[in-house]
Amino acid sequence: MLEEFTGPDWLSEEVKTGTTIIAVEFDGGVVLGSDSRVSAGASVVNRVMNKLSLLHDKIYCALSGSAADAQTIAEIVNYQLDVHSVELGEDPLVRSAATLVKNISYKYKEELSAHLIVAGWDRRGGGQVFVTLNGLLSKQPFAVGGSGSSYIYGFVDAEFRKSMSRRESQEFVVNALTLAMSRDGSSGGVAYLVTIDETGTEEKCILGNELPKFFDQ
């Protein structure tokens, strides 16, 4: 058989952040979480990527879908927000950041395949989580996304309560990520956590062996 040698799969497969991302609003701020696996077909091309991207001091976004598309959107919105906040003379609203992401997602919805969850803290609305899937803009108490999110819908539906404390929200996010990473082949590695409130931003990385353990058959 005459077959052209095209090299290993991972050179030609699109790089996706098949992933699990989650953001939760708590009383006074938000917690964002993500796994760290980037896959190209069956290969893991990066096992420690931080998918929580800074858009502004107190506004972060979580990336999922095509890695290139998601990163580009985040970079563009980061630039636009910088300009906007200089013009405004103060910190931008989370809703503004989400709207900028939504505008790009909607305008280029045929070409792009990335889904960003935008979350942060601002003086007017406190902690907020926005979903921008396919160009929709929706404010929610919490949001999950990425391929791993299907497996944890039941868990987050059952366990989420409004007005959890900061500590409880962090635990909720870590538990959800752990459960998703153990079932989804495209999610794994370490868990990244970002907690944003009035006083500032705290970034944390939880290694694989420090993640909570659940019942294993």
Partner: protein
Amino acid sequence: MDRYFDQSIKGVSTGTTILAVKFNGGVIIGSDSRASMGGSYVSSKTINKLIQVHDRIFCCIAGSLADAQAVTKMAKFQLSFHSIQMESPPLVKAAASVMKELCYSNKDELQAGFITAGWDRKKGPQVYTVSLGGMLLSQPFTIGGSGSTYIYGYVDSKYKPDMSREECLQFATNAIALAMGRDNVSGGVVHLVVITEDGAEHVVIPGDKLPKFHDE
């Protein structure tokens, strides 16, 4: 070659949520009650997907309804014949093996997966799963059907070995209710069968008695 043809041409399928869980002294097998055609038409709101193949052995079906009914009918016949020959009730493993044989030998034509659960004198409560291609596996609990993807996280976090009957009923009801809330081809009422040494008891939980979660 198109082996996996469009569901809407294939016919009625139980896009579904099924599960079986072992507890201290028995098993609970449960399912939703929706049968859909092509993902947009509900052909039955109250179908019972829990098939009794023997006194203390039940099966639940996911996939093509026609295939599932054909297989369970054959399995029921083979099992009753087997238990007459052995002069004792069949083992749960025997029931699961019968399903597995049928699924494996006809893997090209069939599109159905099964969960078999029950109680027998030799090993007590057991749960077996037979996948699409005919793999047989024994597990403490198992979930299946299209709705099951949404509750993997929930069952992984909430399952404990050796639960009591009440805890297990709550666990099964919650899991199926959560799946029905997210999967559009699962819905209706929750059917549960509790199988112990004393027999099998059928519990139906109608829509308005289902547990409510944070956004309802």
